[in-house]
């Protein structure tokens, strides 16, 4: 089943999402990238109802890009997250709502700080030091509560992330096999090989 994790550290945000694309009990694909790079310093991991996820993520991606083109600078993470949350909150009360859960992580180049937002399909948004969606969240929340260090180095952050992923692999019956991991810091977005 789908799992996504994210955590902040000293001047960076780590975002991880599994790579399986499934229909019912069948895996259709095992190398799907479910983390979009919305702007040079902004990442969004998405999961939820198949179909809704990609449609919604692309809608967000194109609108954030449009703002960047029009204004020459991109939206700051806090503003982007607020706008995305509103899109979901308005969708919730429409005839057909998007069932999409998000982790939005970004580095604010204006005040040089990392930001992470937990957003669910209802349009609930929380500013958090670490976050998770899916069944993996039951293991990750408690592990990250214990081992997360908000001022940790990237290595420390990756160690904490590995713990969460390994525990999920060990304890969850329907655990995903592979994850994409991305980090965003002052230099932008990079893919990390765990």
């Amino acid at each position: 089943m789908e799992c996504s994790f994210a955590l902040t550290g000293k001047d960076y945000v780590l975002v991880a999402a599994d790579t399986t694309s499934a229909r019912s009990i069948i895996k259709m694909k095992v190398d799907e990238d479910k983390i979009k790079t919305l702007s040079p310093h902004l990442l969004m991991a998405y999961s939820g109802e198949p179909g809704d996820t990609v449609q919604f993520a692309e809608y967000i991606e194109r609108n954030i890009r449009l703002y960047h083109i029009r204004n020459l600078y991109p939206l700051r993470p806090q503003s982007a997250a607020s706008w995305i949350r509103r899109a979901l909150a308005e969708s919730l009360r429409s005839r057909q709502s998007y069932t999409v859960n998000l982790l939005v992580g970004g580095f604010d180049t204006a005040d040089k700080t990392p930001h992470l937002y937990w957003i669910d399909y209802l349009g609930t948004m929380a500013t958090v030091p670490f976050a998770a969606h899916g069944y993996g969240s039951y293991f990750a929340s408690s592990l990250l509560d214990r081992y997360h260090n908000p001022d940790g180095t990237l290595e420390e952050g990756l160690d904490a992330l590995r713990r969460a992923i390994d525990e999920t692999a060990k304890r969850l019956v329907v655990s995903p096999g592979k994850y994409t991991v991305k980090v965003v810091d002052k230099d932008g977005v990079r893919v990390i090989d765990l």
Binding site: R85, W118, D120, T124, T127
Partner: protein
Amino acid sequence: MSIMDHNGGSVIAMAGKDCVAIASDLRLGAGAQTIAMNFEKVFPVTDRLYMGLPGLATDVITLREKFRYLTNMFHIKESRPLQPSTFAHLLSSTLYERRFGPYFCEPVLAGLELTPSGTYQPYIAGTDLIGCLNFAKDFIVAGTASDKLFGVAEGLWEPDLGPEDLFETISQTLLNSVDRDAYSGWGAIVHVITADKVVTRTLKGRMD
């Protein structure tokens, strides 16, 4: 479980002598799972009026943003702050607009109303999720711990408390009530409003 209880959280407001206080817990949950321990549910409306919004978190944020928009527009066009009694009716009609598809929040107001003689009078009020106003002289409670809050507040509150005593009363009421509620807790934030200033304190509760 009702949708009102999905994210958890509680708010209480109390009237004192020439002062009012309003407080909330800091938990944000998704059912039984705790997502965040820094989710404030009380927001400033003017310098002398605060609004607490317990309920479904998506609507808490949406309403907070909506009322910030409405009060800012009032403030900038009228060049004067909204009075609590005026805001209460704005609140009521805004909620009733969604009578058959409501915002799942039960707002609580605490503020000081400017009287014609230039003094300030304590004002607290609450509404249900479709905007039925409820004025009280003593206290207003709402959220997942509201039943416990009613009991403890009934026991601890007394008339004409000063700012410091009111702070102690509201803090003890909230902390002891949320200890008996699985969906509220993880610390609290308390605002005590007097005519010349607002004192905000963050409390640690039983962080478990």
